[in-house]
Subunit: 341 residues, 2 copies
DNA sequence: TTGTACGCGTTATCAG
DNA sequence: CTGATAACGCGTACAA
């Protein structure tokens, strides 16, 4: 444990008061140039630097906002962060980022860490593990506004930014139906996320609308990351229950499925067509290029940050609001029906 | 500006002393159960919560370490962060992440932000813009150890984690030479980075060793991101100065080049072979799969974090050290010479 | 069991 | 121009 030099140390060394030291150091004019020089020299000698925490204790403002994301291995959250950074920078605030690693417990720790750094607001996309409901509420009650984006928490009264998952999933499924595929499956995400449920609902409703059969095998729980899509598809192949097309919860799942398809000597889209979701940069680069729903990630980040700044700056605190952004289906080779033409 | 409730407010409301309130709230036994109950009720009524900054002012420890990365759009830094997170978590520390967006000025702001949150140490990979030399030194002098990783700052006396860029670049180039390619070019990175210089040096020395000609056109400055590789390759194609093989500064550059090659109706590796660097997850997924140098990203994060914790925890402060990790060339289809056999 | 007083590091106010 | 002192919010010896 080190002992840092303080103004008091300098004052003692020079036999003057802390007040004078403080003034000399803050470069005011109402101090004798000579003593000022002495103070600055002594400060340098002692390697003095002001204690940032003491400063903050008085200001009671940090000009900082905090962010919690589940992960940033896929390019999805990084794109959102870029949007957040832009708005936050422009507003003269700074951004502190933490990663919950999809763990509720780590999320808790992160939130408390941000709180103890006195961030003035928090942006969060929650873990797939579940919700730290009590803590969200507690933080908000404590006067720190929270804005949820992408993966939101329904039961907390806070601003939220989402996309129209249901509709896009519905249209993506219809796209497969209109393309002439008959046996259409869905690889779904983590049970507890609202986005999972919404996308699944979109899939189911589209299938029902067109009187397509949905049985026990139609929907497989995959998850979030690539390896889950890989194993889900592998299991289907092993069971010889191979669908003509799969609508996947997200791009990594679709890419994992693609890998399994290729390894089994099958082809995409000839044998199995694929549709992803949440457009990652990789989608366009793989072979075949992946049909996917493009989310306005950058815009989502901007919007979330703006909502938060509103909560922070405006008095009285404005009503919370939920913004729904529009996504778009990019049709590429992975979902072209080569049999039908 | 809100007014938060403090123990003083509670004390006033109940006509007792702040000390009693403090004790009651911290759940000690040496306080009348009755007053304790009253205090807790009043605290809840006033929506009291302890001021984290005041607490920290006494402890003088934050149990937090800070991180600055240039970006996390490519999967490179996220992988490193995963390694850092692991070690930091295990040590009971927390991690605060900031993104410099490849800007020296943002990097400055981030470093100061971390400093003012009293992190106990900082991990950093510097921007391609250049070095905030004075600030690094100042922070270290102030008693906060810094560990550089990947993109390091040579002139600061601090611990560093790097890979053997020179050797790997040398071997990657030799791989192309041994494969029988004659006209071999290099797309290089940002001028100011040491990694750029090391990789370029490896390329040049390998070419020289085998008496290959290097002229003004052999080396093109590309940069860091995909679009730069794209435009660099486009320019060569326009000039009809098409190399048989290109050793690229990193994977995104190689992927950009690949895009340009395909768009021009050329094929990889038949017309232009490619080798990347710093293995991203995409490398294996593109068509053709990309030959690339695999960096031990996770391990790099672990190592950097461990070095930092050493600096933080051990007294007297241990000597700084530079760790060089071993990378590995993964040969895939993009660099197979189809003419030679 | 409770209250007083001080310390953490700094700035600001006021009196000298 | 300078020094003493209060204030920021909390914990905690020590005294009552």
């Amino acid at each position: 444990m080190k002992k840092y030099s303080t103004i008091k140390d300098i004052a003692n060394a020079l036999n003057i008061s802390t007040a004078t030291v403080s003034r000399a150091l803050s470069g005011r004019c109402d101090v004798n140039p000579e003593t000022k020089k002495l103070v600055i020299e002594e400060a340098k000698r002692q390697n003095y630097r002001p204690n940032p925490i003491a400063l903050r204790l008085q200001n009671n403002r940090s000009n900082t906002i905090g962010l919690v994301v589940p992960e940033f291995k896929s390019s999805f959250f990084p794109m959102i962060i870029a949007g957040i950074q832009k708005v936050v920078d422009e507003a003269g605030f700074q951004l502190l980022i933490t990663e919950s690693q999809e763990s509720m417990e780590v999320e808790r720790r992160n939130l408390k860490l941000l709180e103890s750094n006195m961030v003035e607001g928090i942006l969060i996309s929650i873990t797939r593990d579940g919700e730290n409901l009590d803590l969200y509420q507690d933080i908000i009650d404590g006067g720190i506004p929270i804005v949820f984006f992408n993966r939101v928490c329904s039961s907390v009264n806070a601003s939220k930014v989402v996309i129209d998952d249901y509709k896009r999933a519905f249209f993506a499924t219809e796209h497969l139906i209109y393309s002439g595929f008959k046996k259409i499956y869905h690889f779904t995400g983590p049970d507890k996320l609202i986005v999972t449920l919404e996308r699944k609902r979109g899939f189911v409703d589209a299938m029902k609308k067109h009187h397509f059969n949905i049985n026990d095998n139609s929907i497989t729980t995959a998850g979030v990351l690539m390896d889950k899509g890989y194993s889900a598809m592998q299991r289907l192949i092993e069971k010889n229950d191979i669908p003509e097309a799969v609508f996947c919860f997200n791009d990594p799942i679709a890419l994992g499925a693609l890998k399994a398809i290729k390894e089994a000597g099958l082809r995409c889209p000839e044998d199995v067509a694929l549709v992803g979701f949440s457009e990652t940069e990789i989608a366009q680069l793989v072979d075949p290029p992946l049909t996917s729903v493009e989310q306005p990630t950058f815009e989502m980040g901007e919007t979330a940050a703006r909502l938060l700044l509103k909560q922070i700056n405006e008095t009285p605190t404005p009503e919370v609001e939920t913004v729904c952004l529009l996504a778009k289906l990019n049709i590429r080779k992975s979902s072209i029906n080569t049999h039908k033409g």
